[in-house]
């Protein structure tokens, strides 16, 4: 499997490390219920199909990336810098 890093170009997946689902957002630990923290820490969907997930380009540009991958075929649909995804998400919230 190869991942096309938006900064470095196409690279072998050995250069990356995997974190998992990019969707969960950490609740405010001072305010969230124990149940909400439990869900954030332990509960993940495991879809057979398209999943947006976090990868880290450890041996390259050391950037976090959001990779949209089909878990059945490993076909990669999109790779975006996680920074851009986070910024778009927080500007969406502000609007």
């Amino acid at each position: 499997m190869r991942i096309r890093c938006p900064h470095c170009g196409e690279r072998d997946n050995g250069e990356f490390s995997y974190l998992g689902d990019a969707a969960p957002r950490r609740p405010d630990g001072m305010e969230a219920s124990a149940q909400a923290m439990h869900d954030y820490v332990y509960l993940r969907d495991n879809p057979a199909g398209t999943l947006r997930e976090l990868w880290y380009h450890a041996a390259g540009c050391r950037s976090w990336l959001v990779v949209t991958r089909d878990t059945r075929t490993h076909a990669i649909e999109a790779v975006e810098p996680a920074r851009d995804v986070a910024r778009a998400r927080s500007s969406g919230e502000a609007a």
């Binding site: 900064h7 690279r11 250069e15 041996a59 390259g60 540009c61 050391r62």
Partner: protein, 240 residues
């Protein structure tokens, strides 16, 4: 539980007694300074990053001209530049005005002679200079715009050239170095034999340069000499 006022008093006493004992120690140190500097001159000798691992001369396959030339570089200046958030344009302007250098885009290197900038990550570059001294003014010139960290002594640098240079690198580099995909002025951060490297191409010879963490110089050299052996290779020391 001790009373906070007592704790403060006793700790300040401890501090002053420490201070007086260190005064006594410093006069003692002064008398033995001559002897210790003589000893350290024997113990602490500056040495190049490749020293110990490499041997100049012709190695590997003995027939014909060497296919690979490895030039060990020493005495160069290197520093990482990390642009402050949103200051890329300011950094670009200062580098152009003060140093005549332009910031290369992702995957590129801008090198003229022994000076240049090599892209290493978004908002991060490696500055290359003929000596560490040349980079001395950089932190002040870029104050508030970029973080500058001297790397002159923390990387080992080797220049790789010769007709078989690309064939040799292909054994360990998972980046396509074919001229249709890579060429002079291109740069990549990747790994070779599980060792993190930054590599860039200087000319179409082809001539490449690889920077590796200094503590990995010996391990990296182990890979290099095995990879180059079948082509026959020449090792030459080079100050710059």
């Amino acid at each position: 539980m001790s009373d906070p006022a007592t704790t403060r008093a006793s700790s300040s006493q401890a501090f002053s007694s420490q201070a007086s004992s260190s005064q006594a120690a410093s006069s003692q140190a002064a008398s033995s300074q001559a002897a210790s500097s003589q000893a350290s001159a024997l113990l602490w000798r500056p040495r190049g990053a490749w020293e110990g691992a490499t041997k100049p001369g012709r190695h590997g396959a003995p027939d014909g001209a060497a296919g690979v030339r490895l030039t060990l570089r020493d005495g160069f200046g290197l520093a990482t530049l990390i642009a402050a958030d949103g200051k890329d344009a300011d950094l670009q302007a200062i580098l152009a005005e003060r140093f005549g250098l332009s910031l290369p885009e992702a995957g590129a290197a801008q090198i003229e002679g022994e000076r240049g900038l090599i892209w290493s990550a978004p908002g991060q570059w490696l500055a290359l200079a003929p000596s560490p001294h040349v980079l001395r003014d950089l932190p002040e010139a870029l104050r508030g715009v970029a973080a500058v960290t001297d790397q002159s002594d923390s990387r080992a640098l080797v220049r790789i050239s010769g007709p078989q240079a690309r064939a040799m690198l292909a054994k360990g580099v998972a980046v396509d170095l074919h001229p249709r995909a890579f060429g002079p002025g291109r740069a990549a951060v990747t790994s070779i034999a599980h060792i993190g490297v930054q590599l860039w191409q200087r000319d179409a010879g082809p001539t490449y340069e690889i920077a590796v963490a200094r503590s990995f110089a010996g391990s990296f050299w182990g890979w290099l000499e095995h990879a180059a052996a079948e082509f026959g290779y020449e090792v030459e020391p080079g100050r710059v």
